[in-house]
Point group: C2
Chain length 193, copies 2
């Protein structure tokens, strides 16, 4: 799955209406360079694709405060919102750390219990891989890389970390951290939809 697609949908949804460069600015303001590799070109491609699929639509509602060249602004369609939810769910279950991280950025857009159960699924899958990796024989003389103990060891360590981090986050959500979808009750006026 394309991370660009998830990020673009999520950012447009969060901001209500945006153009390509706006998405780019938002991402760089997150210091996302450290953890995603998303270049302007991918953003514009995702926008075109999403528009052609009816997930977003260009919205030129009147004069906007603009400085610089002309831009095209987009909003999500209902279809786009559904697509976003689907991608977000799959990102939160993903074994790919980059995709997962993109999902974390938007996790509050789902109900809390839903995120927790996605993490449960993610844990099952991560543990399966870990068990498999541990079952691999690690011989000491790596005549061929398949048995390279360092390679296997590295990935074992990585998956252990991923599991630990997911468990910690899961626990933190159970303890009530962060405000999720439909939980705005205790805050003063929140103005987005």
């Amino acid at each position: 799955m394309s991370t660009a697609r998830l990020l673009v949908l999520g950012i447009i949804l969060r901001r209500g209406i945006t153009h390509g460069y706006g998405v780019y600015q938002e991402l760089t303001s997150w210091r996302a360079e450290t953890w995603t590799n998303i270049k302007p070109g991918s953003i514009y491609h995702a926008l075109e694709k999403l528009e052609s699929q009816g997930m977003i639509k260009a919205d030129d509602s009147g004069d906007r405060v603009k400085r610089g060249p002309s831009r095209t602004e987009y909003t999500l369609t209902i279809q786009g919102e559904n697509e976003f939810i689907t991608l977000l769910e799959s990102a939160l279950k993903s074994n790919d750390f980059q995709v997962y991280a993109a999902g974390i950025a938007f996790m509050e857009m789902l109900p809390r219990h839903h995120v927790i159960s996605l993490f449960d699924e993610r844990l099952v899958s991560l543990r399966g891989i870990l068990t498999f990796l541990r079952s691999l024989p690690t011989e000491s003389l790596p005549s061929n890389p398949s048995k390279h103990p360092e390679l296997v060891g590295m990935w074992v360590g990585y998956f252990e970390y991923a599991i630990e981090a997911t468990q910690k986050l899961r626990q933190s959500l159970i303890s009530g951290n962060y405000i999720f979808k439909n939980e705005e009750s205790e805050l003063e006026g929140v103005d987005h939809d």
Copy 2:
């Protein structure tokens, strides 16, 4: 940089001569599915590209023991060997875990001290990123994802793990583990160049 390119070059070099499906088989025999996402299509694309750039050449030397459809076998050119070294060096310095892992698979093809100094460079870069991540403010209420403490925390943990793993491996090489290029002295006859 393309992982496929590095893997294809490395596998052809290691086997002397191979065809596309051979590369694919080798990769799957490593259980590489767990840690790389390389599909047959990427392998064949890499082969075409590398051939068009003179990095490898099709070698139809006589009748080979073959079962099944006809195949095209390739060997590396001098240029290809240089390209492999370049890609391998950059993989071992890479912050991308997948690329780095592919590099580890071939690390013994460089001299030991060379790998150690590449790890030193890698550590400098990883530590830089970690310092930067730690300098980011982590507020408790993530109104926007840039400040999402979980996101930052996750990446901090990840880079800490990457640094630790690299240090351990570096130390292990210093202690004399594994046999690197030009170190075959203590073994009986080795037949590749």
